[in-house]
């Protein structure tokens, strides 16, 4: 307890530390937002709550890490992970997701949870349970007498995340498939009447989600660490972000992603890194309680 207070005191004594924490949080939060956007996509279009979201991220990270081990330049790992995970996503869709699309929500939750177990265990069997990272070998920039350190790798990661997000947004807005996806999200039956093959739209949405997650994972492995069992924490984070922001609210998802990143860094600073998972989960509970209070208010106004 005293340690927490000391850590908290540091924040007030050295205000510059706050800036460093927020900067760190925002840079990592950009990647959380990417995975969360994928979740918002499948949630909104297919009404599937994917608990294997984090495992797609970790799998993408391993694809990139494995290629780097074989001598590929690390930055190339991102597009490769994107493509590979799109393929994995398609297979997963055909085997698991398509049969449960019109079942109740708990079924999809449990099926994707089983998928999460399978993926985490397969990754563990293939790559071992050590934490892995890819070192880009770039310098670190220092500001404010060395209080703030910004590795160039992290800047590149943020830029790549922004580029990917921008690409997806443009795709969703202007391409035929993007329009079909948005039409299906609005009203699947009307979309079918208009001649949209919704089954193909679902398959495409799912593998696009897996691909976004894979690319996010390939970026995460450059600036952070991955481990086969870190997936669940990433899934919980995605849920926190999407639940906080609401569906179909892209600026909200980005803001919530950056916010979660910063809050987690604050939590890690005050309580220590051991509480990282607990902080993610407690944030989820707080968001759920907030939604609950909001819902109560809606119900009251209906009376």
């Amino acid at each position: 307890m005293e340690q927490f207070l000391v850590n908290f005191g540091l924040l007030i004594e050295f205000p510059i530390v706050n800036l460093k924490i927020v900067l760190d949080g925002v840079m990592i939060g950009a990647l959380f937002a990417l995975a969360a956007y994928g979740l918002a996509l499948v949630w909104g279009v297919m009404n599937v709550k994917n608990l294997a979201q984090g495992d797609f991220v970790i799998a993408g990270g391993y694809v990139s890490w494995w290629l780097v081990e074989y001598g590929l330049p690390p930055l190339l790992g991102v597009p490769v992970a994107f493509v590979v995970m799109a393929g994995v996503g398609w297979i997963v869709y055909l085997l698991i997701i398509r049969p449960i699309l019109d079942r109740d929500l708990f079924t999809t939750l449990l099926a994707t949870f089983g998928l999460a177990i399978i993926m985490a265990q397969l990754l563990n069997l293939m790559f071992g349970s050590d934490t892995q990272a890819v070192d880009l070998g770039y310098d670190t920039l220092y500001f404010a007498d060395g209080f703030i350190d910004v590795p160039i790798a992290k800047l590149i990661a943020v830029l790549m995340a922004m580029g990917l997000a921008l690409g997806v947004i443009i795709f969703m807005k202007y391409s035929r498939m993007g329009q079909a996806i948005r039409a299906t999200a609005q009203d699947a039956r009307a979309a079918r009447v208009m001649g949209i093959n919704t089954d193909r739209v679902y398959a495409f949405t799912w593998s696009l989600n897996a691909a976004i997650c894979g690319a996010a994972g390939a970026i995460i492995v450059m600036v952070w660490v991955i481990q086969p069992f870190y997936g669940i924490t990433h899934s919980v984070r995605s849920f926190v972000i999407v639940t906080a922001a609401g569906l179909g609210n892209l600026p909200g998802v980005i803001a919530a992603g950056l916010g979660i990143g910063a809050l987690e860094q604050y939590g890690a600073h005050i309580f220590g890194i051991g509480y990282q998972q607990a902080i993610a989960v407690i944030l989820l509970l707080l968001v759920l309680i907030y939604r609950l209070v909001q819902q109560r208010r809606v119900r009251q106004s209906l009376q």
Binding site: L105, F106, G114, I117, V236, Q277, L292
Partner: protein
Amino acid sequence: MARKFLFYGALIILMTVAPFVFPAFKTQLATIWLMIIVAMTWDMTGGQMGYNSLGNITFYGTGMYVAALVTIGMVYDVGDYTNAFGGKVYDFSTGQYFSGLIIGCLAAGLFCALTAVIIGYITFGLRGPYFAIGTLGVAIAAGELVSNWDWVGGGQGIALPIYPGDYEVGKVVFYFLFAGTGVVLFLFAKWLYSTRFGAAINAIRDDEEKAEAMGIHTLQYKLATWAMAAFFVGVAGGISAFQLIHFEPLESAYQTINLGIFMVVCVLLGGKGTLWGPVVGAVLFHVFKEVTWNYLLGWQWVALGVLIVVTVVYFQGGVVGWLMQQRPEWFGVQRVVDDTSTEESS
């Protein structure tokens, strides 16, 4: 009627002689009963009331800790006991052990029921998947908090005294404690589902808004059902604490992704919302788990994940649900064969 008595009689004889016929599997048989208990309690809210909780494991872990702390606290100071962790010898007499076992398990059950009411008051406003995720969050958070709480032993957990007397006799005692709790729970559930209360929670499952409109105080029913389920899970957790002797928070008490998910898979495998489904599912699941753990080492978790996915995706009705479709007369449903409406009877 006679056939029914024969059936139940055979089952009671089977469960009584089982630990003596298969002496090498005493602990395994006790674990089957544990699975039956947690699966049946999960089905109370998940199958009968339609609230799919992923956090019932909270009560299992809390039950373990409450039982252990009550037992230790009646004799020694808990802080000293957990601080000394193995460094100092603490003796428990036979009387202290058994009074701790009985009072501890009952206290665990009551405390968990109370916890369920408090957590339920917050979480039962959540509907559908939000409820599942919220309760999962509660379970993970509870495990993390306990593992960082030094007064109860922190991440190292607590060691309880070993069974006074013969070790093998102890195993049989724990078997019958689990079996007794399981039988009480089964009879309680059988009675409960036949009352107005059972009809009310089924109404909540089928359509909560309509149930509310019909004048059912849904929140009270939901809290009561969850509290009953939590009571039995808490008692089972308390017995487990004594059976395991030493337990620690994340892997054995709040084992979110092990037992916490296993109980759901047991129910789905057996058949959700039926009296016998959780029992059948728990037995099948435990046998499957032990076989894969023994013969597919390294791949056991993958096999388990595949079982979960296959059960959920392709075999949703479960064994009992499938039997109900095939042989409705076994469940007291008369088959109507005269005209086109044959399907309605199931």
